[in-house]
Subunit: 483 residues, 2 copies
């Protein structure tokens, strides 16, 4: 016998079916009682808005009402009536209340008061039951769906690139080893090194840092593809911006040059943000207020000029500034913080790698807009980026967002076999291991490009949360693999 | 200057814009020439259909035409004209052809002839350029998109559950270890065991075998969620049905009982298959023919009764058979292959685990329909499945598909804390490590259910491919982590 005959709170709010008898299920957020009536605020996760249940103590027994404590799970049947109170159009007059699961107020960690984000991180298994995290994870869902919808509607194909890989050619940082060997007594070769021939994959393997190289293989067959999968960095960075496990979106497109790539990335970012604005109005309104409240506790000069919603609309409505690295260096070199030596890293010559302080200056102070920085010195970028005519720069792009810094990194890829292999030689990248990558330049090569978006950075930006650990359900960071 | 001014072949075929001048880019599949004209079949991955380019040797130089070999990448401008030939409504009269990338016919592995699937697996970086694999990966994309669309439209939220995890409570099989320790000289504790306190996560970690337990946490806050992520099994199984790395879809729903779970799973499977039928008509037509050709090489009695398309339509149009394990045992015990001892495992008593041969008999011989098998003996199922009133069975379900066997496994979850902890004791599952899982039963517990779908099994079923290594871009199996 099917149990799930409930109506979701979101549906009731959308339709306000006055006079209808129906069943609601959800968790108690708060209860207020006097001797004549109890008001229960119920939430079922479908929306941030609680629905008001009106319980008459002549209808619902005292014992049941007592168990309707914060956190308890209820099944309520009743009739939708026009609400007497302000702030809601309807409410439910309870005919029956069944306690599906109790929550002992002495023990339940989520009481109706403000909990710190740090405390909630320790009970990540329960934090999605709060307004803030309910909103964050509904917005995260909407953003993920928007990513798939955008690419599907444009005719891109979703490719699942491998998570376990033997290639570390990108050299993007420290990797996690994957093995089935007995760590205590690993098999050794005659020379005394670990005998990976006896490991599961018969070679050394690690967790992927990027699906790009495999994505390129697919793009050279299907034209336009994207990946959306987990990637890993074993960096010992305990910051509000780093995760050991995070999700990346990496489109790769045959027949795109650097400008096509920039056009796509800008259009894509705006689409995804607009989708959240269109589909998460209530959650974003809540998060906007949350951020505004948080900003109030900061000194005046550290507050954002724009609120969350204003910032999102601003990004959607304005063209991103596009400028070359060389132009950026000129601006930075002549900037006040550079002249007054306020930057930690003074920009004194072309070729310097840009630090977060410089990116923030460009985006937040100078242009006050998202910035697409292009054509970086080849020495500070990856081997696969296409060399420009000048011989000094590559067709790279980084997209910088206010408060976030780099949200997208990409490039036109080097499609010329001779240029690519020369570069790999210079950078000591083993070509034998990369035979398959080079094959795409040997056979039917073509100009192509792509970029990567760190999904959690996008969720950070759209939700206005301050710590990346608060936008993924169960964050993995140094020392943390709980849940 | 933007490069990507091309029109996709799919668009031209859809719109047949006779008289329009446009640019095409893609890879040469074949070229036929006589002294008056060359016909080039071009493919750009947007569709399985090649587009015919007509090149007049008076317009296109002999040198260029010579380079238009199989696998070469071309940029062609020309005018769309009505086709003279059969089988296509329009073709392109080439005004200019630019060779974007050559493919030396002496070296290019993909020549216009039939290659074995085994050979193509060795060049997985190029196999997406073939008709078969182009079709498979376009269908795979459509299926993945359908999964997201189905759940989004129903108000489910997509949750990214962790890939690296310290919990192996499900005991679903061998796991891959994840570590940053020096394998050759791992740090040891005073007792001489590996000191995982010095590992990245300060504990032993492995790759997830399922996101279910974490998915349940989210469902107990957001009501209806799903996961879609990679999962891993370090089983040394070299079969056509096993991968070490594969993608799973795991919906979890608060307020669902076993029957709700079955209803959802059946509806979901039909939706996803119907989506592929609606959106991949040409690819499925090709794969239907491919399978029919392959079947012809089999002895008459081993051929499928239904072709691929017929089989897909049959699943969408018919109600799945639902029966209990106990009913299935009765059918199997009295079946001809059991009486005649044709089964490798004879069914002689209630409690026996069903083997693939039994599942196939039920689905392919007895019912000739997809089957939802329910209420298995508790001894052969996982600790988290809800115990039925009879005390002997649990509210499990497996969905069995023809040719595939188990495509979905799920259950109503045990929501009663006392029953669950008793079961964990019996099955030696450590409760301390699972404090967070048990918390959902301590605080606001509710009936809930969920299931898991192995995505590659679904792609196998819909594409009619015979080996699971042929439906994921870069398969990971024992000894294989190439690309």
């Amino acid at each position: 016998m099917a149990f799930n005959k409930r109506v979701k709170i979101k549906t009731i709010l959308d339709e306000s079916p006055i006079g209808t008898e129906l069943t609601l299920m959800g968790w108690v957020r708060t209860k207020r009682s006097n001797k004549n009536v109890s008001f229960i605020a119920l939430n079922d996760g479908s929306t941030i808005t609680n629905y008001q249940i009106v319980a008459d103590p002549n209808v619902i027994s005292e014992d049941v009402l007592k168990k309707c404590a914060t956190g308890a799970c209820l099944k309520i049947t009743g009739t939708v009536v026009e609400s007497q109170g302000a702030g809601q159009s309807s409410e439910l007059n309870a005919a029956t209340i069944e306690i599906l699961g109790e929550a002992d107020p002495e023990k339940y960690p989520l009481q109706p008061k403000k909990h710190s984000l740090e405390f909630l991180r320790e009970i990540a298994h329960l934090r999605m039951r709060t307004n803030t995290f309910g909103a964050v994870f509904r917005v995260r869902h909407a953003l993920a769906y928007a990513v798939h919808k955008y690419f599907n509607d444009k005719g891109f194909f979703y490719i699942h690139t491998p998570i376990i890989t033997a290639s570390d050619a990108e050299g993007a940082g420290e990797t996690f080893k994957v093995t089935t060997l007995d760590l205590k007594n690993p098999p050794l070769t005659e020379e005394g090194s670990i005998d990976f021939k006896q490991d599961f994959f018969e070679r050394e393997t690690n967790l992927t840092v990027s699906g790009q190289l495999e994505g390129e293989l697919a793009a050279m067959a299907l034209s336009e593809i994207y990946t959306f999968g987990p990637t890993f960095r074993a960096e010992n960075s305990n910051t509000a911006r780093h995760l050991a496990e995070f999700w990346m979106i990496e489109p790769e497109m045959a027949f795109y040059d650097a400008e096509d790539n920039q056009n796509l990335a800008e259009d894509f970012l705006k689409y995804v943000i607009q989708y959240a604005l269109d589909n998460c109005a209530e959650d974003l309104k809540f998060l906007d207020q949350r951020l505004a409240d948080e900003e109030k506790s900061k000194p005046q000069d550290q507050r954002s000029e724009l609120g969350l919603l204003d910032k999102l609309k601003f990004v959607v409505e304005n063209e991103f500034v596009r400028l070359t690295y060389t132009e950026a260096i000129d601006i930075l070199r002549n900037s006040n913080p550079n002249k007054k030596k306020k930057f930690n890293y003074i920009i004194d010559q072309w070729g310097a790698d840009l630090q977060s302080e410089h990116e923030r200056y460009l985006v937040e102070k100078h242009f006050k807009k998202p910035v697409i920085l292009t054509d970086y010195p080849k020495e500070i970028k990856s081997f696969y980026m296409r060399q420009n005519e000048d011989g000094k720069t590559v067709a790279a792009m980084d997209i910088l967002f206010p408060g976030i810094g780099e949200i997208v990194g990409g490039s036109q890829r080097e499609e010329r076999l001779d240029v690519l292999t020369k570069k790999m030689e210079e950078m000591n990248i083993p070509q034998e291991e990369m035979w398959w990558y080079l094959d795409t330049r040997r056979f039917g090569s073509t100009p192509h490009a792509g970029f990567g978006l760190g999904f959690e950075r996008m969720v950070l930006f759209v939700t206005g949360m301050g710590n990346i650990r608060d936008v993924i359900a169960f964050p993995r960071t140094p020392g943390n693999a709980e849940f």
